[in-house]
């Protein structure tokens, strides 16, 4: 059973398009995260939700909008995609706050052409 799953695994799209990435965790965790890992492998947090409530919102363009329909799901919608959005996006979850172990999904590799 996959603990944290993401779909799709790969996403290739044109500049200007809108796309969504879905994340689901079956660990019963309360907190979920979105991270971006750029071409230089630098991993940086974008958003964090606890029980469907946004608790961390880093300096991310407002073209990125997370949505948490329930505490097991955290989706990421990106409007008007730009070349610089090309990266691997990781979803993660933890039991409670960030001091609990975070479990990462397999990543979604987004390529914007």
């Amino acid at each position: 059973d996959t603990a944290v799953s993401q779909t799709p695994k790969y996403l290739v799209t044109q500049m200007g398009n809108d796309k969504s990435i879905k994340c689901e965790q079956n660990l019963g965790h309360d907190t979920m995260y979105w991270y971006k890992q750029d071409s230089k492998k630098f991993l940086k947090i974008m958003f964090s939700y606890n029980n469907k409530e946004l608790i961390i919102n880093e300096t991310v363009p407002n073209r990125f909008s997370p949505k948490s329909p329930d505490k097991a799901h955290l989706n990421l919608h990106i409007n008007s995609l730009e070349l610089g959005d090309s990266a691997v996006y990781f979803c993660a979850s933890s039991q409670g706050v960030a001091t609990d172990t975070q479990y990462f999904g397999p990543g979604t590799r987004l390529t914007v052409l």
Binding site: L43, I56, F90, A98, T99, Q102, F104, G107
Partner: protein, 112 residues
């Protein structure tokens, strides 16, 4: 000064070697210190977690923290080809917005 500095490598060692991976940090508010391992095209996974200065051992892995020098290390004894991965140090403050801050990762290859 960057908040976290980690030599990206790459680091290539023969099987059985002792590997030393290091990070320095500048934020005195960091209270938790972690090492994540990331295999190619996979998500990171937590390897070691400590919140105090000193050493913590887990099998072939030892995490070392020196808060006074703002320096953390991960030692791998008797390295195996299966240890080939990128190792990321990670830090966490307590209070306020708790978020993991990662180093850029060191790519390690252990050659059989």
């Amino acid at each position: 000064q960057k908040e976290v500095e980690q030599d990206p490598g790459p680091l290539s060692v023969p099987e059985g070697a002792i590997v030393s991976l290091n990070c320095t940090y500048s934020n005195s508010a960091f209270q938790y210190f972690m090492w994540y391992r990331q295999y190619s095209r996979k998500g990171p996974e937590l390897l070691m977690y400590t919140y105090s200065s000193g050493n913590k051992e887990d099998g072939r892995f030892t995490a070392q923290v020196d808060k006074s020098s703002k320096y953390i290390s991960l030692f791998i004894r008797d390295s195996q080809p299966s240890d080939s991965a990128t190792y990321l140090c990670a830090f966490l403050t307590q209070g306020g917005s708790e978020k993991l801050v990662f180093g850029k990762g060191t790519k390690l290859t252990v050659n059989p």
